[in-house]
């Protein structure tokens, strides 16, 4: 199972004018990993499919909260 977010640590200069954001993240939704969609994947019920925006849990990408807990900037 892939993670919805990847994190990186930008260089922090002592001369940066704004308080630094130590950890930055970017979104990596499931379509980056699935390849050609295999047949017969499990499906949502129609009502849940509408709310999720897709028929397949394998393609559902929650935002802003991914499956991994978002790292906070502490």
């Amino acid at each position: 199972m892939h993670t919805e977010y990847k994190y990186w640590y930008p260089y922090i200069s002592p001369l940066d004018p704004c308080p630094p954001i130590k950890v930055k993240s970017y979104n990596t939704p499931p379509n980056l990993y699935l390849g050609f969609q295999p047949p017969s994947l499990p499906q949502f019920q129609p009502r849940e499919a509408l709310f999720h925006g897709t028929l397949w849990p394998a393609l559902f990408s929650p935002y802003p909260n991914g499956r991994e807990d978002e790292v906070t900037n502490e």
Binding site: N27, P29, P30, N31, L34, G35, F36, Q37, L50, F51, H52, G53, T54, L59, F60, S61, Y63, P64
Partner: protein
């Protein structure tokens, strides 16, 4: 030809009169990676692309118009009863001067939509890679708008639209796989 269904693809609910949010949302209406660009790009590219993926471009291009209609509804509701004073406070005075509270195809910075936002290269791989990039850019734009918005009802609709970008990207990636397939190659098991 098209049949029109007089309903939205997904319900749009807006709980606050918030012209400032409309100013950002208009990016998805008449911006480079907006729904209008997407619909026109795909529906135009499909004439010169291998038969196997024409249907995909038709389907996705059509759905983009359904998204355009959702964005239009959101923008309309966010500004419907906004007074000139409120438009001014939201930084929409230039828009008001030109359009009153009407919608127009321009981006968040007020630049009118232009065909230079889209391309049809005639090369199937180049075109589909552009389409994949467009979907990912639209997904990112939705993320940034969701981050700016505190209207949870509106965000519900925006999250739906973002998810559709993910699904469309997936389908375009599959289309590339179809076109990459070595048709004449012997397959040994």
């Amino acid at each position: 030809m098209w049949y029109y269904e007089k309903k939205l693809e997904y319900p749009v609910k807006v709980s606050t009169c918030n012209p400032t949010l409309a100013k950002y949302l208009i990016e998805q209406y008449g911006g480079a990676d907006g729904e209008l660009s997407a619909a026109l790009r795909y529906l135009n590219q499909r004439y010169s692309i291998p038969d196997k993926v024409i249907g995909l471009l038709t389907d996705i291009g059509t759905e983009e118009f359904a998204h355009l209609e959702m964005i239009a509804t959101m923008v309309y509701k966010l500004t419907k009863d906004a007074t000139p004073e409120m438009m001014k406070e939201a930084g929409l005075a230039p828009h008001y001067a030109n359009h009153d509270n009407a919608l127009f195809y321009h981006n968040a910075a007020g630049n009118p939509w232009t065909a230079t936002y889209i391309q049809a290269k005639g090369d199937p791989i180049a075109d589909l890679y552009e389409d994949i990039a467009a979907e990912e850019k639209a997904r990112a734009t939705y993320q940034w708008i969701i981050n700016l918005s505190d209207d949870s009802d509106l965000n519900d609709g925006l999250k739906f639209l973002r998810e559709r970008e993910v699904v469309h990207s997936q389908r375009f990636r599959e289309a590339v796989e179809i076109l990459k397939e070595e048709k004449d190659k012997q397959i040994y098991f």
